[in-house]
Amino acid sequence: MSVAEHHVLDVRNLTIALPAHADRELAVAGAGFSVNAGELVCLVGESGSGKSVIAQATMGLLPLALRATGGQILVDGEDVLAAKEGRLRELRCTRMSMIFQEPMTALNPVMTCGDQIDEVLATHTALPAAARRARILDIVHDVQLPEPERMIASYPHQLSGGQRQRVMIAMALVLNPRLLIADEPTTALDVTTQAQILALIRELQREHGTGVLFITHDFGVVAEIADRVAVLRQGEVVEFAPTKELLAAPAHEYTRMLIAAVPSLTPRHRSAVASESIVLRTEGLSKTYARGWLRREDAVPAAKGISLQIRRGETLGIVGESGSGKSTVARCIARLIEPSAGRILLDGEDVAKLRAAALRPFRRRVQIVFQDPYRSLNPRRTVGESIVEGPMNYGASRDAALSGARRLMELVRLDPRSLDRYPHQFSGGQRQRVCIARALAIEPDLLIADEAVSALDVSVQAQVLALLDEIRMRLDLAMLFITHDLRVAAQVCDRIAVMQQGRIVEEGPVAEVFAHPKHEYTRALFEAAPGRNWSFARRASV
């Protein structure tokens, strides 16, 4: 009984039903775990596992379509599933609080940050205005926001993502709740910002003894901050154990699979690239977006002075945070946009300034796979039509193109008979493979992967990465791999270039850069990578 008293959150045999037409019956099936005061428990799972549903149920914010059909959720001993709406409203922000994933949209754009924090105080306490303001300044200071007075008077759109998330945390913790639920709060943030927010949450937790339920899909984060971990699959808690135990010796096969799928930060040993032939080279590539016709001088370059070379059979990675310009470079090289300056040399010929018709021969040789598998295929055309479009543009007959498409589907391990299906009939990972097949259909020399695995679950990600590796070897392709994820870069790339604010700050073989980063920004990136002290999958040398 005394153990139960320490439980800030106790989920017992929770069952939540899905509406009739869903792909399974239950969103959550008999889940059970607990969070103690002063403890941080991570709830880990892939997309669709039901982790957000559990969080919403705890706050009493389940969408109307979902119904809790069994079990209990005890917050500080009180069952919130049985509570009425009025009681739930009292409990929100006083006993339990929640912060969300997208700081960009989670704050009301037309109210100042101070007013939004003030609302919490005004609703739940009887404090007069002056006392509320003092409390707000305190909490804003606690979440380490600079210039609290100015912050309070600012509107959300004037703050960065990290700052907005701190405001959210301030709103959530201002009344010192016993439980904080964090639903993927750092997933949308840069890795350096993420490190700061994670540290902040840990610190505030220790200071106030709050119990934290941290939802994530990233095992690196788990390794970094969790005391205990609950692994969720299809609504079931398959394993619930202290972090060190779980990571060292996972009991359940699903947990083992998830952990094995996490790429290690230690670059694997790769054989030296045999070929010396350079497929593509850039010299001083730059792109500046004009900011309207009145303020040309204000424009900040998205990319500046980028000089790279990519060799046949080699994967060059470009690593950077959002706004670093890596996607801009990829799009320039793929000639989806025109660079402002510099040269792009393919076999000695400069394609940087060529226009549409002249680019046709070039396009055969450079292909790109995009980030979002759900928007990369025309939903109104069959998968087969999307794949044969390229070859047919270059004169292949429909039959030849289709038989080529069938071979490619086998190459990417999809059933060739499904060429006449539509994109919505495939999962995200499968769609991404279709996109790879489409890119390979016109036999390019260079394949650009622009954050191609960032939107995929970690297990699917591992499969697609393995596929890309295999393809690169078999077809002797050159590959340009854009990513923000250092782990992925470590496993996939031979050489790596680190970009910050439009420039390359460091470049070199991946083993060297990871082992001995020279530039301070590179070092900061590595410092910030969550779970860097844990090596996950053991990798054999190639």
């Binding site: 914010l61 009292e90 704050l107 609302e119």
Partner: protein, 313 residues
């Protein structure tokens, strides 16, 4: 913020230029001698020569346009041979009733429609919502003059509560003024209320799906506060946008309503002028209405800056 207002002001100039060109070319697009058409059926050849000279109709067209614009900007809209008055005077005579009708209608339409939309959004799916939406589709579909005549039939002919037609200026008594404005205003407001209630409901429902509403609920705020402080304030921008655009419907409706209720306003003037082929008047009225519409929408743009801090900077 001033820069924003200045930019919006500048942006209206090309639009008004296009309107001016369109209106100007109206007369030149008819078959026949513009001077003769303006002079009307009962003119003699000396009149026609005078008109031709005054409007510069024998000069190149660009010059004609410049002359016309010059006149317009100094308030001279030409002379109506049909009504035998300066067009500017004609307009001044008739602007009062139209202004009264339009303002009255707009104000109380918004006052009724926005709350209706909020209530419908709040009770989505219930009979209240269906009633409001049903009324909205109906109000949008039944033509203005049909509504007008139905109301006249019910209230004036059968029940005899209100006068059938006519207009009384305020100067001659507030009671009569209001009494005569009730039915026309009611008629005109139906379409406006239908439009605004519908867009209010839609905007609020859309806003209610946003992330910050979820945050507001997670803070334990009561539903009323979530609705008014968070939802409505964010839905305000699309709502006043539509209020601005709906003014076009209002203007069109004014033309018809004044005909039905025999109100001596600008709408009636337009119709009479068109029937009489009195182009100077038609041109002037269209130009005027368009400018008013553009300026009112400019006001809407300025109102944005008050409602949405992101637009200020």
């Amino acid at each position: 913020m001033l820069a924003y207002i200045a930019r919006r002001l500048l942006a209206t100039i090309p639009v008004m230029a296009v309107v001016a060109v369109l209106v100007f070319s109206m007369l030149r697009l008819t078959s026949g001698d513009p001077a003769a058409i303006i002079a009307g059926a009962a003119a003699n050849s000396q009149d026609i020569v005078d008109i031709r000279q005054k409007l510069g109709l024998d000069r190149p067209i660009v010059e004609q346009f410049a002359i016309w614009i010059g006149h317009v900007l100094s308030g001279d809209f030409g002379e109506s041979f049909f009504f035998k008055k300066q067009v500017a005077d004609l307009i001044l005579d008739r602007v009062g009733p139209t202004l009264a009708l339009a303002t009255f209608t707009m104000v109380w339409s918004v006052l009724i429609a926005v709350p209706l939309g909020v209530i419908a959004a709040n009770r989505q799916g219930t009979w209240v919502d269906r009633l409001v939406m049903g009324f909205s589709v109906l109000g949008f579909s039944v033509p203005v003059f049909v509504i007008g005549y139905t109301l006249i039939y019910v209230f004036s002919i059968r029940l005899n509560w209100l006068p059938v037609q006519g207009y009384q200026p305020i100067a001659e008594g507030l009671g009569g003024f209001i009494q005569r404005l009730i039915l026309p205003s009611l008629t005109l407001s139906v379409i406006y209320i239908a439009l605004i209630a519908r867009i209010t409901r839609t905007s609020i429902l859309e806003v209610l799906g946003e992330d910050y509403i979820r945050t507001a609920r997670a803070k334990g705020l009561p539903n009323r506060v979530v609705l008014m402080r968070h939802a409505l304030r964010n839905a305000a921008v699309p709502i006043i946008t539509v209020i601005g655009i709906g003014i076009a419907f209002l203007i069109g409706g004014v033309v018809v309503t004044e005909s039905v209720f025999s109100i001596p306003g600008l709408g009636r003037l337009t119709v009479d002028a068109v029937l009489a082929r009195d182009y100077p008047t038609v041109q002037a009225v269209i130009l005027l209405f368009s400018i008013v519409y553009v300026l009112l929408n400019l006001l809407v743009d300025v109102a944005y800056t008050l409602l949405d801090p992101r637009i200020r900077y």
